[in-house]
C-alpha cells in the first residue's frame, strides 16, 4: 500500500539532553538501526545542539505507535546507560 508522503501520518519528537555531548552519544547509538522494512515507517533522526529531533512517518496508526514505543524503549536504555556509565 503506497500512500503519498503528504497523506501519511507523522509524529515529531524533541528530546532534550543535559548537554550536546550526551545528545550526540544517544544519536550515534540510536541512528544505527534502520526501521524494519515490513512496518513501512520512515524515521528521521537529527541533532540540534542538545536536542535530538525525531520525525516518524507511517501509513498506519498502528505501525506508527509500534515504532514510537520501540524508540522510547531504546531511548530509555541509552539514557540509563549514559547516566550509570559516564566517565567520572
Amino acid at each position: 500500500m503506497d500512500t503519498a508522503i503528504s497523506e501519511r501520518l507523522s509524529a515529531e519528537l524533541r528530546v532534550p539532553f543535559p548537554s550536546a555531548w550526551e545528545a550526540e552519544v544517544a544519536y550515534n547509538s540510536l541512528s544505527v538501526d534502520k526501521e524494519p522494512k515490513r512496518g513501512h515507517v520512515h524515521r528521521d533522526l537529527s541533532l540540534d545542539g542538545n536536542i535530538m529531533q525525531v520525525c516518524f512517518q507511517a501509513s498506519e496508526a498502528r505501525t506508527l505507535r509500534v515504532s514510537i514505543n520501540s524508540f522510547f524503549e531504546h531511548l530509555k536504555l541509552v539514557c540509563e546507560t549514559i547516566d550509570q556509565f559516564r566517565p567520572l
Binding site: 550515534n28 538501526d33 534502520k34 536504555l77 541509552v78 546507560t81 550509570q84 556509565f85 566517565p87
Partner: protein, 335 residues
C-alpha cells in the same frame, strides 16, 4: 596486553564477559526463563535484556576488577539471532563504547562459540560440532574461513529438544535441554523414530512432529514413560549428529573434535562423541555450561582475536542482523 569486553544477547541469555589476553576475568549472565510449556518470544526477551543489561555490566566490571579506562575494545554480537534482543544488547555496547571512547568490533555469534571452545580446551584445529537452540552446524577451518560441512536443513537440534520439553511441560529452569537430559538417564525402553541424515545435513522437524503427535498417546497408555521418550529422542538426534561429524572428520583427516553451543554441555552427547573420537584415534574437546551456553566472554574472546588482527567496526556500521552465516566472516587471525 589487550582487554576486551563482550556483549551477548542473541537469544534468551544476556551475558557480558571480560577477557584479558586469553584469561576470562568475569563472565556474568542472566537467563530469561519462561514458564513450562512456553518458549521465549523476541519482544519479551528484548525487554528482559534491557532490564538486566546494566546490572550485569556492573557485575562484569566488578568481578573482573577492571575500570572502563583499562578496556581496549568493546565487542558485541552482530548476529545471527533474534532481532529485537540483538539490538537491545548492541545499544548498550555502542553507548559505553562512546562514553569510554573505545573502538567496537562486531562479532559473529557462531565464531564466538568456536573461539571460546578453542581457548578453553586448547584444541588447535578441530572439526567443530556447533549445537544450540538456534544453530546446528559441522564446521572445519580452511583458508581464512570456518567452512560449514553440514548443517540442519530446518530447525536446530536444541530447538527440537526444547519443543519436546514443552510437550512434556518440563521446566525451562535452568534449561529445557538440561531437564530432558536428567529424565533421559532414567529411560529404559527405546522408541524407534525417524532418523534423518541427508548427505552431510540433518533434519529434525519431521522427527519433532512425529514425537509431538505420538508422545501424549504413548504416555497415556503407559506404553512408554516420559523418561523413555527423552532417552529415545536424545539417542536418535545425537546419533545423527555424530554421523555427520564423523564424516566431516574423515573428509578433513582431522584428529580433533570440539563440541560447542548450549547442547554441547549434554553429557550423553559428549560421551557418544568420545566413543566415536576414540575409535578414530582422535581427541574430543568439550567445555561445561559456563562456556558452552551463550555468554559474554565468548564474544569478547572472538572480538579480541579480531581486534588484534586489525579488525575494527565503525560505529555507524555496528548494525545487527538476524541471518549471519559462519562462513561469511574472513578469519583474519588464523594462518
Amino acid at each position: 596486553m589487550v582487554v576486551a569486553i563482550g556483549f551477548e544477547g542473541s537469544a534468551n541469555k544476556l551475558g557480558i564477559g571480560i577477557v584479558k589476553d586469553g584469561v576470562v576475568l568475569s563472565n556474568p549472565r542472566h537467563t530469561y526463563i519462561t514458564p513450562p510449556g512456553q518458549g521465549f518470544l523476541p519482544k519479551d526477551t528484548a525487554k528482559h535484556h534491557r532490564e538486566h543489561a546494566l546490572s550485569v555490566l556492573k557485575l562484569a566490571l566488578e568481578e573482573a576488577n577492571i575500570k572502563p579506562e583499562e578496556i581496549d575494545v568493546v565487542c558485541y554480537t552482530k548476529g545471527p539471532g533474534m532481532g529485537a534482543p540483538l539490538v537491545s544488547t548492541a545499544l548498550v555496547a555502542r553507548t559505553v563504547a562512546q562514553l569510554w571512547n573505545k573502538p567496537i568490533v562486531a562479532v559473529n555469534h557462531c565464531i564466538g562459540h568456536i573461539e571460546m571452545g578453542r581457548l578453553i580446551t586448547g584444541a588447535q584445529n578441530p572439526t567443530v560440532l556447533y549445537v544450540s537452540g538456534g544453530n546446528t552446524q559441522v564446521i572445519a577451518y580452511s583458508d581464512k574461513c570456518y567452512r560449514i560441512f553440514g548443517e540442519t536443513i530446518d530447525i536446530a537440534v536444541g530447538n527440537c529438544l526444547d519443543r519436546f520439553a514443552r510437550v512434556l511441560k518440563l521446566s525451562n529452569d535452568p534449561s529445557p535441554g538440561y531437564n530432558i537430559e536428567q529424565l533421559a538417564k532414567k529411560g529404559r525402553q527405546y522408541l524407534e523414530m525417524p532418523y534423518v541424515v541427508k548427505g552431510m545435513d540433518v533434519s529434525f522437524s519431521g522427527l519433532l512432529s512425529y514425537i509431538e503427535e505420538k508422545a501424549p498417546k504413548l504416555i497415556e497408555s503407559n506404553a512408554y514413560t516420559p523418561e523413555d521418550l527423552c532417552f529415545s529422542l536424545q539417542e536418535t538426534v545425537f546419533a545423527m549428529l555424530i554421523e555427520i561429524t564423523e564424516r566431516a572428520m574423515a573428509h578433513c583427516d582431522s584428529n580433533e573434535v570440539l563440541i560447542v553451543g548450549g547442547v554441547g554441555c549434554n553429557k550423553r552427547l559428549q560421551e557418544m562423541m568420545g566413543v566415536m573420537a576414540s575409535e578414530r584415534g582422535a581427541t574430543l574437546y568439550a567445555t561445561d555450561e559456563r562456556f558452552c551456553i551463550d555468554n559474554g566472554a565468548m564474544i569478547a574472546q572472538a572480538g579480541w582475536e579480531m581486534f588484534r588482527s586489525g579488525v575494527v567496526t565503525p560505529l555507524d556500521q555496528t548494525t545487527c542482523t538476524q541471518r549471519f552465516r559462519t562462513d561469511e566472516v574472513e578469519v583474519t587471525w588464523r594462518s
